[in-house]
Amino acid sequence: MNPQAIIDGLVSGSTIGLGAIGLTLTYSILRFANFTHGDFLAWGAYLTLTVAGVLGGLAAGLGAPVYPFSFGWGLPLAILGGVVLTVTLALGLDRILFGRLRARGADAIIIVMASFGASMALRSLLEFIFTAKPAYFTKALQIANPLGFGMRATPDQLLVIGLTLLLVLALHLVVTHSATGRAMRAVSENPSLAGVYGIDVGKVIRVTWIIGAGMACIAGVMAGLLVQIRPYMGFDLLLPLFAAAILGGIGSIPGAMLGGLIIGLAEAFAVQIIGAEWRAAISFVILVLVLMLRPQGIFGQRGA
């Protein structure tokens, strides 16, 4: 077996984990499985690409790659813009769709269905605007440097892994130690009691969308940077995202990250053993195993 699978798995697992964080948070706090979450990744990537294009038009130097990476200062700047726009998209969708259904007291499953409809619409809208042709953040080629033990990684890949770990650690600290994090955990346990405690549940919901959509955008950019940007990229990641969130335990940020890494690694090894064409089935197999053996996931509470 080729040890390179470890690096490949960690890299794609980082993207999945980061994306799954938003999914697990909206799942535990808003209490529905959000099928549009994958499309937040895709929209995040395209919006960032658009901002990068505008920035590149303003100042050509921003596009020049900064050694050793394949992209220039324009990309980190563009990500800021992309995050803001993706968050706006998520908050807007909550305002016109999910929030209204919540206010009406609709069953969670109706909101899931609405998210399914919205996901189809959002994805096809991307296809209409940007066409199905893949797009790229950079045309620069990168050499993978040897890391020892027969593994190689490009600087971009190492940056993705490092940045992901940093973001997850920061988020974990926020949720476990800040007042906002306490309020989020409280709402996820019992929203109506949270109101009795004086928590503005609407505000907690907005914070949840901001974190979830923000992370989704960054995950989408990472996936776009390492592979390519396609309108269907988010949809193709949806099953791995759900599998990671459930494997890690709904509501757990470290769980989502760990779940993402496990799925990334499992996919990478499966590609070597049974072939790349079966890659997408791995998440499904893991999902079924988790549901059979430990439905609450690694860090999940029973009955949660």
Partner: protein, 243 residues
């Protein structure tokens, strides 16, 4: 001065099927009032409607002079209303301290630590292990934490939904002892209770709700012999409603 008043309040889960069918009363500042009634009379729904957890379809709720009808529950805490639900009234997956910290978030920054400290002192059972998960507490201790959380914000009106439910007689006495101290400190107390004897011992005034309407409003002492209460519960004296 009036602390809480209801005017023809109608509330419930379905507009076509109100559970509270037009209730009016006024509670003065510092009073301790208990709300009695048979199962399904709408006591719990009424208190939740006041607390902003159940939709109001008509009428008015006033806290002091403010109209608070239909305001979301979280805004009422700042206005001086405390509510302790009957069950699931603490966050079991958070620590005791975190439960109090959430409530303290509404206070000015410099006051928070002091108020939490005061509550932990007032309830020594909680003070001895603030970093434990609240889910590990016993039934009586949970009620204490729930009360401590509500008191932390120094409410002028404190409403409790069956604080004695599921507790042993010894713990009931302990809980009511605590409530008496709260009442003595000048807090207006509104209590929904099934445990009539314990409730009447604590409060000055009793409201009896039958089928979503007020069937009796008078001094708690009137109900001590149980005869009147029995009649009211069975609906024999419903005609005297609104006294």
């Amino acid at each position: 001065m009036t602390a809480l008043s209801l005017t023809d309040l109608r509330a419930g889960y379905d507009r076509d099927l109100p559970i509270v069918k037009g209730v009016s009363f006024t509670i003065e500042e510092g009073e301790a009032v208990c709300i009695l009634g048979p199962n399904g009379a709408g006591k719990s729904t009424m208190i939740k409607a006041i607390a902003g957890l159940v939709p109001c379809f008509g009428g008015q709720v006033q806290l002091d002079d403010m109209d608070i009808t239909g305001l979301p529950s979280h805004t009422l805490v700042r206005k001086g209303m405390g509510f302790v639900p009957q069950t699931e009234n603490i966050f079991t997956r958070l620590t005791i301290l975190e439960n109090l910290q959430i409530a303290a978030q509404l206070l000015p920054r410099q006051a928070r630590a002091g108020r939490i400290e005061a509550m932990l002192e007032m309830f020594p059972d909680l003070g001895s292990r603030p970093r434990e998960l609240a889910g590990a507490l016993s039934g009586g201790q949970r009620q204490m934490l729930a009360a401590a959380r509500a008191l932390l914000n120094e409410p002028r009106v404190l409403m409790l939904d069956e604080p004695s439910a599921g507790l042993s007689p010894k713990l009931v006495a302990q809980v009511f002892d605590t409530l008496r101290r709260i009442s003595d400190a000048g807090v207006t107390l509104v209590l929904v209770e099934q445990n009539v004897r314990a409730a009447l011992g604590l409060t000055d005034r009793a409201l009896v709700l039958v089928d979503g309407r007020l069937a009796h409003d008078g001094p708690a002492a009137d109900l001590h012999d149980g005869k009147l209460l029995g009649d009211l519960f069975l609906g024999h004296r419903a005609a005297e409603a609104g006294a």
